[in-house]
C-alpha cells in the first residue's frame, strides 16, 4: 500500500484529490471503508488515467504504465536496475519517474528513505522467520530436568535490515554474531550487544553502500566465515550491493557443514541470494539444513510496512505540492537525485551505466 | 588564655570545620560559602570590644574602631541576607512532592 488513511488525510490537507484502486488496501487490512473521502477506481489502469501523480509499491505492469498520462509523475520502488525495457517505456511515455531506490542517502532524505523503512521490516521479519523455523529454542532456558543453552544466530550483512535482525534475535534471547564487509559496522553491531565476526576484509564503499570484493578477498572472507557458519543454529543473510546482484557469500559447501536442523534465512533471495541454493519464495532442505528464501517480505507485515512506506512517499512529494498543484524543484538535490526518467530522458547516471544505456 | 589550651581549640575547631562540611553537594557550594562568610561576621563582636576600649580622646583610634565595627556589622548583616535568600530556594528540596 502506498497510502494509509492518515496519509490520505494529509494529501487532502494539501489540497490534493486521492484516487484509489478498489480493494487495494485489503491485503494490508485497510478495507475501502476506512478511506472515506477517496475516489475509487476499478483498476490500476483507471487510477492512472485520472492521476497526475501515481504512487506504486512495485514497478507497475506494462499496461498500467501505458495508462499513465504523459507528463505526470510516477513514484515508487521502481527497481530501476533490473529492466531496460521498463526504463525505456517510462522515458518514451514522457513520464517523470522517481525510483525511491535512487534516493540520495543524505540526512535530510532519511524520512523519505523507503529502503531503510522496508529494510527494518525485513530484518525484523527474517529474525522471526528464523526463530519460528528453528527446531531449537533461541533463548537459554532452565527447566525442571536441565538447561537448554541459547541458540547461536549469525547475521551476515549489517545494513539497516541486518541490524534489525540482530536486535530482534537478541531480544528473543539468542546469542548473536554478525558480519559485514564495512568495518564501521563492527561498532554498530556491538552497540546492539552482539559480537562481530572478524575476517580481516574491508569493503567500505561510498555513500553508506558497500563496494564489490576482489576474488582473493572473497576467498579469505569465505574461509573465516565458514567457521562461524558451521557453528551457528540459524543464519540470516542480508548482504546487498545496490545495482548489482546480491553477493554470493555462503557456498553450498558451507551450508553442508552446518549443524543438522540449522536454519538459513536469505533475505537477499529475490536479488539472487547470498546463499547458494536459495530459491526465492521457497523453503528448501539442503541436507538437514532448511534454507528459506522469503519473497516480498514487507507483505508479511502489511499494516506497518504500508504505513511506513506511505509516509516515506508523502515526505518525498509533499514539499512540491502547493495548494493542490505540483511544483517540482529541480534544484533540490534529493528530488533530482531520485529521478529516473523525465521529459523523455533516462536521467540517472548510475542506472544508465548499469543498464548499458 | 593559656597558650596550649588555645592551640587545642584551634586544632579541634579546624577538625570540626573540616568534617562538618565534608559531604556537601555542589549545589550548596555557593550558599555554604556565603553561610560561612556570615559566620565569621562574628568579628563584629571583637570590633565592638576594641572600639569599646578605644581611647575616646584619640580620633585615630575612634576612626579605626568605627571602621572595624562598621565593616563587621556589614559582614554580618549582608552575609545573613544573601545566604538566607540563596537558601530560600531549598525549602526542604522538592522532596515532599516526590516522596522518595
Amino acid at each position: 500500500m502506498s497510502v494509509v488513511p492518515d496519509v490520505v488525510k494529509k494529501y487532502q490537507g494539501l489540497g490534493a484529490r486521492v484516487v484509489l484502486q478498489k480493494g487495494a488496501g485489503v491485503p494490508a487490512h485497510f478495507p475501502d471503508s476506512v478511506f472515506p473521502e477517496v475516489t475509487f477506481a476499478d483498476s490500476a489502469v483507471e487510477v492512472c488515467e485520472q492521476a497526475d501523480v501515481v504512487f506504486c509499491v512495485q514497478p507497475p505492469a506494462d499496461d498500467t504504465i501505458a495508462a499513465i498520462k504523459p507528463g505526470s509523475l510516477l513514484l515508487g520502488l521502481l527497481q530501476p536496475w533490473t529492466s531496460v525495457e521498463r526504463a525505456r517505456q517510462l522515458a518514451e511515455r514522457q513520464i517523470t519517474a522517481f525510483a525511491l531506490e535512487l534516493l540520495p542517502r543524505i540526512s535530510r532524505a532519511q524520512s523519505m528513505d523507503a529502503l531503510s523503512s522496508q529494510g527494518a521490516v525485513a530484518g525484523y521479519e527474517c529474525a522471526l522467520i528464523a526463530a519460528d523455523h528453528s527446531p531449537k529454542f533461541f533463548p537459554m532456558l532452565t527447566y525442571a530436568a536441565g538447561t537448554i543453552r541459547p541458540a547461536k544466530v549469525l547475521v551476515i550483512g549489517c545494513g539497516v535490515a541486518g541490524l534489525q535482525a540482530i536486535a530482534t534475535a537478541r531480544r528473543i534471547g539468542a546469542m548473536v554474531e554478525a558480519y559485514d564487509v564495512r568495518p564501521e559496522t563492527r561498532e554498530q553491531v556491538e552497540s546492539l550487544g552482539a559480537k562481530f565476526v572478524d575476517t580481516g576484509v574491508s569493503a567500505a564503499g561510498t555513500g553508506g553502500y558497500a563496494r564489490e570484493l576482489t576474488d582473493e578477498e572473497k576467498a579469505k572472507q569465505a574461509e573465516r566465515l565458514a567457521k562461524a557458519v558451521a557453528q551457528c543454529d540459524a543464519l540470516i543473510t542480508t548482504a546487498a550491493i545496490p545495482g548489482k546482484r546480491a553477493p554470493r557469500i555462503i557456498t553450498a559447501d558451507m551450508v553442508a557443514r552446518m549443524k543438522p536442523g540449522a536454519v538459513v534465512v536469505d533475505m537477499a533471495a529475490e536479488s539472487g541470494g547470498n546463499v547458494e541454493g536459495t530459491v526465492a519464495g521457497e523453503k528448501v532442505w539442503v541436507g538437514d539444513v532448511l534454507v528459506i528464501g522469503p519473497a516480498n517480505i514487507p507483505s508479511r507485515m502489511p499494516v506497518h510496512a504500508s504505513e511506513m512506506y506511505a509516509k516515506n512517499l508523502f515526505n518525498f512529494i509533499s514539499p512540491f505540492i502547493k495548494d493542490g498543484a505540483l511544483a517540482l524543484d529541480w534544484d533540490d538535490e534529493v528530488m533530482a537525485g531520485t529521478c529516473l526518467t523525465h521529459a523523455g530522458e533516462l536521467r540517472h547516471a548510475g542506472v544508465k551505466q548499469v543498464l548499458g544505456l | 588564655m593559656e597558650g596550649f589550651a588555645a592551640l587545642y581549640i584551634f586544632m579541634l575547631a579546624a577538625f570540626t570545620g573540616y568534617e562538618v562540611i565534608s559531604r556537601v553537594p555542589v549545589i550548596l557550594h555557593t550558599p555554604l560559602m556565603s553561610g560561612s562568610n556570615f559566620v565569621h561576621g562574628v568579628v563584629l563582636v571583637g570590633a565592638m570590644v576594641v572600639l569599646g576600649h578605644a581611647d575616646p580622646e584619640d580620633p585615630v583610634q575612634l576612626v579605626i574602631g568605627f571602621v572595624a565595627v562598621f565593616l563587621g556589622a556589614a559582614n554580618a548583616a549582608g552575609g545573613y541576607v544573601v545566604t538566607e535568600r540563596m537558601l530560600a530556594m531549598f525549602k526542604g528540596g522538592n522532596k515532599k512532592e516526590g516522596g522518595a
Binding site: I106, S107, R108, G119, A120, L163, S191 | G3, A6, A14, F15, T16, G17, P25, V26, I27, H29, T30, M33, G35, S36, N37, H40, V42, V43, L44, V45, G46, A47, M48, L51, G52, A54, D58, L62, V67, A68, V69, F70, L71, G72, A73, A74, N75, A76, A77, G78, G79, Y80, V81, V82, T83, E84, M86, A88, F90, G93, K95, G98, G99
Partner: protein, 459 residues
C-alpha cells in the same frame, strides 16, 4: 551582667554556629542552619554591649546601624545573579574588620606578648589581603573592572611583595612599641598584596578565589579572637577557616582546576575553552556532581539518547538514573529522534531492554514543542540529531533534517567521551551554546557517577 554569663553566651553562640554550618551542608536542612546562626549572631551582639567597661557606645551603635543597614539593604535588593560579588564584598568587609581590630590594638599599644603579637600581625595580614582581594573580586564580577590585569613576571612580584610584607610584620612583632609608620606601611603593603594577587584571575575562577578569601577571613578572625582572648571568635573563625579551605578544594575540584593553578596560572576571561572555529562560544565542562545536582533540583528532565548510549551500552544505567530522579520528584521523559542510532528503532530496542516503560518515551513530534518548558535536556551520546545547524546552515550536510530542539531547554547537559563528531562528521553548534555543559566520559561511567551523586544528594 556577669562576665561568666557573657562567656557562657559566647560558648552557646559558638556551638550554634557549628550546628548551623553543619545544617547548611545538606539541602534539606540548609535553610534552618542560617536561621539558627542568625539568632546566635544577634545574641552575641546584644550580649557584647554588657561587656564591663565598654565605652564609645554611641559611636558603636552608629557604626552597627550604618554598616548593618547598608549591607542589609544592598543584600535584599541585589539581583540573584549578582549574588557572588555580594558574598565577595561582605567577606572582604569581615577581613577588613579583622585587620582594623589588629590595627587598633597596635594603635592602643596594648600588645606585648610575642605570641599575641605574632597572631595579631598574621590576622592583620590575612585580613587585609582578604579585604583588598575581595574588593577586586567584587569589581570584576560587578563589571567595574573589565580586564584581567596581569603584571609581567606576576609570580615573582607576588612572592617579592609577600616576603616584604612578612618582613615588616616580623619587625612589628619584635619591636615592643612599633612606630605608626611601620604599622601603616605594613597595612598598605598587605592591602596591595591582596589586590595584586587577585587582579589577574579571570571570571570563571572567581568563585574559587572568593571561597579562598573567605577561608582567609575566617583565619584572620580566629587569630584576632586569640588576641582579644575571645574563644567564640577563635572557634567561629577557625571553623570557617577550615571549612572554607575544604570548600575551596571541593570547588576547585568540581571545576577541574587545582587551586594552585587558579592562583598562579589563571585563565582570564573569554580566552578559555575549545576550538569553536566558525561557531561562537566555548565548550564548558561540567562534573557528574554538578549534573546530578542540577537534575535533582529540576522539575522536568528530558533524556535524549543517541548512538553513543548504544555504543557504551549505558541504557540500564540511564534508566536507573531516571528512576532515581523520579523518586526524588523530578519528571523524567525520554525523547527519541527518528534517526538516533544506526537503525530504525535502535533506541527503542535499547530502552526496552533496560525496561523503560513505553509511556515515558516520546518522539520528536510529540516533544519538540515542550523543550522551552524543560529544565534540563540530558543528551547522552547523541550528536547530529540535536545539532541546531540543521535548522540554520543551508550548506550543512544535515540541513533540513528535523532535530530535537534541546537547545531551547533551560539547561543542556551533553554526555560524550570527547570531541568526537557524529555520523555526519560535522561540528555541533549546540555544544557552544551558553546553556550547554559538557559531561565528558563514556556514557556508562558518566551516568554511573551521576547516579552516585544523585544518591548522595538524598542521604
Amino acid at each position: 551582667m556577669a562576665n561568666w554569663f557573657i562567656q557562657a553566651s559566647y560558648f552557646v553562640v559558638a556551638v550554634v554556629f557549628i550546628l548551623g554550618l553543619k545544617a547548611m551542608s545538606s539541602p534539606v536542612t540548609a535553610r534552618k542552619g542560617i536561621v539558627w546562626a542568625g539568632y546566635a549572631m544577634v545574641a552575641a551582639t546584644v550580649v557584647t554591649f554588657f561587656t564591663p567597661g565598654l565605652g564609645n557606645v554611641g559611636l558603636m551603635v552608629l557604626a552597627i546601624v550604618a554598616g548593618g543597614a547598608v549591607a542589609w539593604w544592598s543584600g535584599k535588593t541585589v539581583k540573584m545573579t549578582d549574588m557572588p560579588q555580594m558574598v565577595a564584598i561582605y567577606n572582604g568587609m569581615g577581613g577588613g574588620a579583622a585587620a582594623a581590630i589588629a590595627a587598633l590594638e597596635f594603635a592602643r599599644g596594648e600588645i606585648h606578648d610575642p605570641v599575641v603579637a605574632t597572631l595579631a600581625v598574621l590576622g592583620a595580614l590575612i585580613g587585609s589581603v582578604a579585604f583588598s582581594g575581595s574588593c577586586i573580586a567584587y569589581a570584576k564580577l560587578q563589571g567595574i573592572m573589565k580586564n584581567a590585569f596581569r603584571l609581567p613576571q606576576q609570580n615573582m612580584v607576588n612572592i617579592g611583595l609577600a616576603a616584604l610584607t612578612a618582613l615588616l610584620g616580623l619587625a612589628i612583632v619584635v619591636s615592643d612599641q612599633p612606630s605608626s609608620t611601620l604599622i601603616v606601611l605594613f597595612f598598605v603593603l598587605a592591602l596591595a598584596l591582596g589586590a595584586i594577587l587577585t587582579s589577574p584571575i579571570g571570571g570563571a575562577d572567581m568563585p574559587v578565589v572568593i571561597s579562598l578569601l573567605n577561608a582567609f577571613t575566617g583565619l584572620a578572625v580566629g587569630f584576632e579572637g586569640y588576641v582579644l582572648g575571645n574563644p567564640a571568635l577563635i572557634v567561629a573563625g577557625i571553623v570557617v577557616g577550615a571549612s572554607g579551605t575544604l570548600l575551596t578544594q571541593l570547588m576547585a575540584k568540581a571545576m577541574n582546576r587545582p587551586i594552585t593553578n587558579v592562583i598562579f596560572t589563571p585563565i582570564s576571561g573569554a580566552a578559555a575553552g575549545g576550538e569553536g572555529e566558525a561557531i561562537e562560544g566555548t565548550m564548558k565542562e561540567f562534573s557528574a556532581l554538578d549534573a546530578a545536582s542540577v537534575m535533582r533540583y529540576a522539575s522536568k528532565v528530558a533524556i535524549v539518547p543517541g548512538y553513543g548510549m548504544a555504543v557504551a551500552g549505558a541504557q540500564h544505567k540511564v534508566w536507573e538514573m531516571a528512576q532515581l530522579l523520579e523518586e526524588a520528584g523530578v519528571e523524567v521523559v525520554f525523547a527519541i529522534h527518528p534517526v538516533a542510532g544506526r537503525m530504525p528503532g535502535h533506541m527503542n530496542v535499547l530502552l526496552a531492554e533496560a525496561g523503560v516503560p513505553y509511556d515515558k518515551i516520546f518522539d520528536l513530534e510529540e516533544i519538540n514543542a515542550d523543550f522551552p518548558q524543560i529544565d534540563v535536556a540530558l543528551v547522552i551520546g547523541a550528536n547530529d540529531v540535536v545539532n541546531p545547524v540543521a535548522r540554520t546552515d543551508k550548506t550543512s550536510p544535515i540541513y533540513g533534517m528535523p532535530i530535537l530542539n534541546v537547545d531551547m531547554a533551560q539547561n543542556v547537559i551533553v554526555v560524550k567521551r570527547g570531541k568526537g563528531a557524529g555520523y555526519s562528521g560535522i561540528e555541533n553548534a549546540l555544544f557552544y551554546k551558553d546553556n550547554c555543559r559538557m559531561l565528558y566520559g563514556s556514557a556508562q561511567d558518566a551516568i554511573g557517577q551521576v547516579i552516585t551523586h544523585v544518591k548522595a544528594l538524598e542521604s
